[in-house]
């Protein structure tokens, strides 16, 4: 971070007045783990000096804040987060998380990159700069996630990765999700990693359940971190190999009991930091952000100062940020005043010495301008209801279909099962089968590719549900009983530029507009959370309660070990190969 060190030195020496002094605080020193009374002098956004109360200040600061004896801790650092999961743009995301004490995030714009490519990454960087929140970006490593099994809006090879790494604010390569590619010697992954290492970038990991030789190979490749651990043993094995562990509690995953247990078994915690990965707007409003992980950790018996160190200094060291994560001379004055060391909402948050939030309210200016982006819904080629039909060679009679059926009651992982289904006028017909629905995945990135298949026990009773938030390629996924409802739903997604939608009796009954790449709203956290709640209600008017709300969003996720649907066909994620829609 550029700083005028002449002025910093002069301010520390008391030769020029500071901009701000925060007085009367219990200062939490994350370097030493001590807590003691102090006054913090700030100039040009950086800490010049941390004084003991008995040390006189030579010149009075321009402004003084009274900490009323509460704790002053550094701002939190989120070591790994996908902003798109909040369905907010970076500037709005900043407004949502800063009041919870987060002052720096390291983001993986993997979702928008799959839709808009490098332009999407640039948008995240540029829009992020309008926020007080410090937003660093990592170059998405897996765009598309699995080449050949689906079509996304972009393809990143070493050249694109190199171009992104050269951008201001980009600090490394984001989670290397193709861990199998990494340890089995995929040339594509190898070249992407080499580009990262060549540019002195950080290589972020994603190695769920990796152990033994595969984990060693993953670490030997240069991968430095991991946030996927679910068990105490997994944490230990990764730490033993020198990896940084990002403690995670997201809107989707929370294994804090196991993680806390793993940490208790290890004497040293300086390779442990904190991340949120995916957080929904509603959870941000209700539960918080990094502070939530801090709170959960403390609730699971971890030492508060130790956890605060993880959520601040350790994250900065993981990335090699030399002036973040602590309040000491030369460090950015990113700080929060908290009543207790419990992960609760801070009373005040400063970023670069500027007040950024107070009592839960963001006080930064509004970036009024509307971001420049175009509608990414290239689905005009889906014109009529019959485009959503599953057409068979047989004109009338029955046909054997590879029906997608749940593996278990969680209704997340699936397999296929051969079933004879009736055909009328070459169209597979679900009449009389309440348990079946159609699913269509429809390319929206410029190819006229679609897959229509049959799914059992999805839980849809009538109408249609669908979304453009569909990992990792974000094509449109629609589950429906009748083709005309699917068409109405797709038209609504086209109108809004993408989003989440429910159709009942041909009418839109729930809709969250996500006009930015079909992934993000322009609205505030509160508005997005409100719209999402309406969508949720509409969703459960047509679906049973056992249907996960985000079922459609992972219907195409080829990383899952089961049957998924992409714009190219049915895919067995475990085997990484296609399965025919019709059975033999």
């Amino acid at each position: 971070m550029k700083k005028d060190r002449r002025r910093l030195i002069a301010a520390a020496m008391g030769k020029i007045p500071c901009d701000l002094t925060v007085k009367n605080v219990q200062y939490v020193n994350v370097f030493t783990g001590e807590i003691y009374p102090a006054e913090v002098d700030v100039i040009d956004g950086f800490v010049a000096r941390v004084r003991y109360p008995e040390e006189a200040q030579e010149l009075e600061s321009k402004e003084t804040a009274d900490g009323e004896g509460h704790y002053l801790i550094p701002g939190f650092i989120d070591a790994h987060v996908h902003i798109e999961s909040s369905m907010m743009i970076p500037e709005q995301f900043g407004r949502a998380v800063v009041p919870w004490g987060t002052t720096t995030v390291c983001t993986d714009p993997h979702e928008i990159a799959n839709v808009l490519g490098i332009d999407g990454v640039k948008f995240m960087l540029e829009n992020g700069r309008k926020s007080l929140l410090r937003q660093y970006v990592l170059a998405p490593s897996c765009v598309p996630a699995v080449p050949g099994l689906e079509h996304s809006g972009a393809e990143f090879g070493e050249e694109e990765i190199g171009e992104i790494l050269d951008m201001d604010g980009v600090v490394g390569i984001a989670e290397l999700m193709d861990y199998v590619g990494v340890y089995s010697g995929s040339e594509r992954m190898y070249r992407i990693m080499e580009k990262g290492l060549e540019k002195n970038g950080f290589l972020q990991g994603h190695g769920p359940l990796l152990s033994g030789k595969e984990l060693s190979a993953y670490a030997a490749a240069g991968v430095e971190s991991d946030h996927e651990s679910e068990t105490a043993e997994e944490i230990r094995e990764k730490l033993r190999r020198g990896m940084h562990i990002n403690l995670r509690a997201s809107s989707l995953v929370n294994h804090m009991d196991q993680l806390a247990e793993g940490i208790r078994q290890i004497p040293y915690h300086d390779f442990i930091s904190v991340c949120t990965d995916d957080v929904h707007a509603g959870d941000l409003l209700a539960l918080g952000h990094v502070n939530k992980v801090v709170r959960y950790s403390i609730e699971h018996g971890m030492d508060p100062v130790d956890v605060i160190r993880m959520a601040t200094l350790n994250g900065a060291r993981e990335y090699g940020f030399k002036d973040l994560g602590a309040l000491a001379p030369g460090y950015a004055a990113d700080m929060q005043l908290v009543k207790a060391l419990d992960g609760g909402r801070p009373e005040r948050v400063w970023i670069g010495g500027k007040l950024a939030a107070e009592n839960g309210v963001y006080v930064g200016e509004t970036a009024e301008e509307t971001p420049d982006f175009s509608n990414t819904m290239n689905v005009g080629w889906m014109k009529k209801a019959s485009d959503f039909s599953l057409t068979a060679e047989t004109e009338n009679g029955t046909v054997p279909v590879n029906v997608i059926v749940p593996l278990d009651s969680t209704n997340v992982l699936r397999k296929v099962e051969r079933q004879e289904l009736p055909v009328k006028d070459h169209r597979v017909c679900l009449d009389g089968r309440e348990d079946l629905a159609f699913v269509c995945v429809c390319n929206r990135h410029g190819l006229e590719n679609r897959t229509v298949a049959v799914i059992q026990n999805f839980g849809l009773r009538e109408g249609a549900v669908g979304t453009t938030v569909s990992h990792d390629s974000h094509n449109a996924v629609i589950v429906y009983k009748k083709e005309k409802d699917a068409l109405a739903l797709l038209r609504e997604l086209e109108r809004t530029g993408g989003g989440l939608c429910v159709v009942k009796d041909g009418q839109v009954t729930g809709s969250v507009a996500l006009p930015v790449a079909g992934l993000m709203s322009l609205k505030s956290c509160r508005e997005v959370a409100g719209e999402f709640e309406q969508y949720r209600q509409a969703f459960y008017q047509v679906c049973g309660e056992s249907t996960p709300l985000l079922s459609c969003a992972i219907m195409s996720l080829t990383a899952l070990p089961g049957i998924v649907v992409t714009d190219c066909g049915l895919v067995d994620g475990g085997k990484q190969e296609f399965v025919d829609v019709f059975a033999e």
Copy 2:
């Protein structure tokens, strides 16, 4: 460090055989602080995998070493050392320290730089590359130490510093000894530091007794480390400001009791590493190197694994070395097998997976070629004995002289005292004053500059003692009773290319030849220690036992708070100003 990650990954996966496996060891994991049985697989000089004994190896390694159940720990890192203090060249220094378990040193070639400038730094880099020991170099920040009060052989401004920082193997700027310059805004120091920060280099500190606003300003300037702490409080204050502390025990300084006390008071130790600063050949032979500091620390009650972590991983993290200081996939296979975690001599030492020392014997190849360097003794202009006379305007009678007298019994710090001394034929004469001697500091860097003064209670009884190792400018310093002995001594220094010398009755009775810049021998540690011992004996034949052996070496040290002698005159180090040789 360049590595073929394809091969590393393949080796970790067991697809290609490793070069070496060290079996049957208690592996000390410095990341987690755990100790457990393991086998370490190495390929191309790097660790591919650390296996639990029960984990099978897919392919047998080309070579196997049996650790016989002893501990395997990473090689030690010396975070700050002046190789010149050992009086050995870097290649020989490597032979001396590797058998003690040191595998990486970060060196400050401050002494040779003051004599030979950039060529001196290049020599240290090039000669260091001939050693198995990993030798990183920092750009000396204070050449000369105090411009204007003495003449050295070179002057480094921001340009020279920039040139050095661009050299392969240079990792930052060496100890910023002019800490007063740093905190009081010296333009010279500022520009040197900015150059370091611009090149993303590490700024090493040297801030003895700094505290309060001066310490804050020093840290705010970007200085990241310090090795000068003498008290528990000093350690704490520096750690609190985010500085890395290098625990030091050198041949000159050892405050381990205080440092251990300071560390006990602080919960977190990951900003603490280890250094040796200045170590003499004899001490290296008898006491060891980094392992000595480790041993002292443990003897003072520190936890052995904690100390080993300091001496390995913490040093690497201080510098941002991502593949040193630990034994984990992708890390350099710099390792030592030790019987106990006590800082004793290792049984075996590997560097980059190659056996480098066994039972105290270095097993690397000898770099036979003689380094290319020229005689730096430009003292031919001192031709006759009378050049060493202190000449007065008065022809005969007495003259008031500012005699240099000890401040206390330690005979290190000095002041001046006006004394009337006899003059014969314009020459100040010491006849009948057993307590007095002459001291001459004679420029050897191309200027015909010399200072002759009178010193009291130095302890010289007869003859002359002198050296070219004379901090920080390394001009020739000779203390003598008779001018002819001084001339004989200077001729010997000229002949040997510099060194340490004793003359008695016109004859050389002790001489350590230091032909490399008048600072370093070409010989081995054992030989240098032997020659130094002979010199010591000769020294104490002409000097009393209360005379410190290295008195001459700090006679010119303008950083001392007292009277010193440079080629420009008498200097009051505290006031940084000249004092006349003759009194008013």
